[in-house]
């Protein structure tokens, strides 16, 4: 089943808080293969996480 960017963005956010189920992982990675926007979104979320943790630590 193909998911849209809306669902993909939700899964990307969820993956920052819990391990995705196998089915979720498959759906997300298939979507990311074809979607540059979501690939960028995923990287942006990782960048925000890294920086937030850094400033949160007072670094």
């Amino acid at each position: 089943m193909m998911i849209k960017c809306k669902e993909a963005s939700w899964l990307i956010s969820a993956s920052l808080d819990r391990p995705l189920t196998l089915a979720e992982q498959v759906r997300l990675s298939m979507h990311l293969l074809m979607c540059g926007n979501c690939k960028n979104f995923s990287q942006q979320m990782a960048q925000l996480r890294a920086i937030a943790r850094q400033v949160g630590n007072g670094e």
């Binding site: 849209k4 960017c5 809306k6 669902e7 963005s9 939700w10 956010s13 969820a14 920052l16 808080d17 819990r18 540059g36 926007n37 979501c38 960028n40 979104f41 990287q43 942006q44 979320m45 960048q47 925000l48 996480r49 920086i51 937030a52 943790r53 850094q54 400033v55 949160g56 630590n57 007072g58 670094e59």
Partner: protein, 187 residues
């Protein structure tokens, strides 16, 4: 040697840190004051392995989490009325066919540097527009690195609620950074 002056010199930074996360001047003042006092009392335990700022921040973090836990009681009375439904929220970012309304750019090195530098500015402004518990969930998760189960307990919300709040906070914050850069480019 850790002098009271060295500790006091970090007050503006700590205020900034506390204010952005608590969004309440009185509460931020109190947390910073308690931190500075605690630091003075235990100045001899400062090992010098980390910077003074990092050491003070680590004390302040506990105070902040305490404050948020206490404040949860006040926040609980707030209803969800001011919060948009899932569909309304998604409509801000996605077209009816489920695709992004605006293309999502890659953030390269320059953007990453900017985010780090402007983080508190942008976060302070952006979190004002978030429902209070949403902002709290983001602070506990992303800035303080707490696990979801702990956050649910601290804010008395379900895991599903928590995921929704974090999703919205992340989407909003990302948008705030984009807007802040576009604004900067135009100015």
């Amino acid at each position: 040697m850790l002098t009271p002056e060295l500790i006091e010199a970090e007050r503006p930074y700590l205020m900034r840190y506390a204010l952005a996360q608590l969004r309440d001047k009185g509460a931020a003042d109190e947390a910073v004051q308690e931190t500075l006092l605690a630091a003075l009392e235990s100045a001899t335990s400062f090992s010098g392995k980390s910077s003074v700022r990092t050491w003070l921040t680590s004390i302040l973090r506990f105070k902040l989490i305490d404050t948020i836990r206490r404040e949860r009681k006040v926040v609980l009375v707030e209803s969800f009325e001011d919060e948009a439904s899932d569909d309304e929220f998604a409509d801000l970012f996605f077209a009816p066919d489920g695709h992004w309304r605006e293309p999502v750019r890659a953030w390269g090195g320059p953007e990453a540097t900017l985010i780090a530098r402007e983080f508190w500015d942008v976060f302070e402004r952006c979190s004002q527009a978030m429902p209070r518990r949403t902002a709290m969930a983001f602070v506990l998760r992303e800035l303080q690195g707490m696990e979801i189960a702990e956050i649910c307990k601290a804010l008395e919300i379900t895991a599903t609620n928590c995921s929704v709040m974090l999703y919205r906070a992340r989407m909003s914050l990302r948008e705030c950074f984009e807007i802040s850069w576009l604004g900067g480019a135009k100015a």
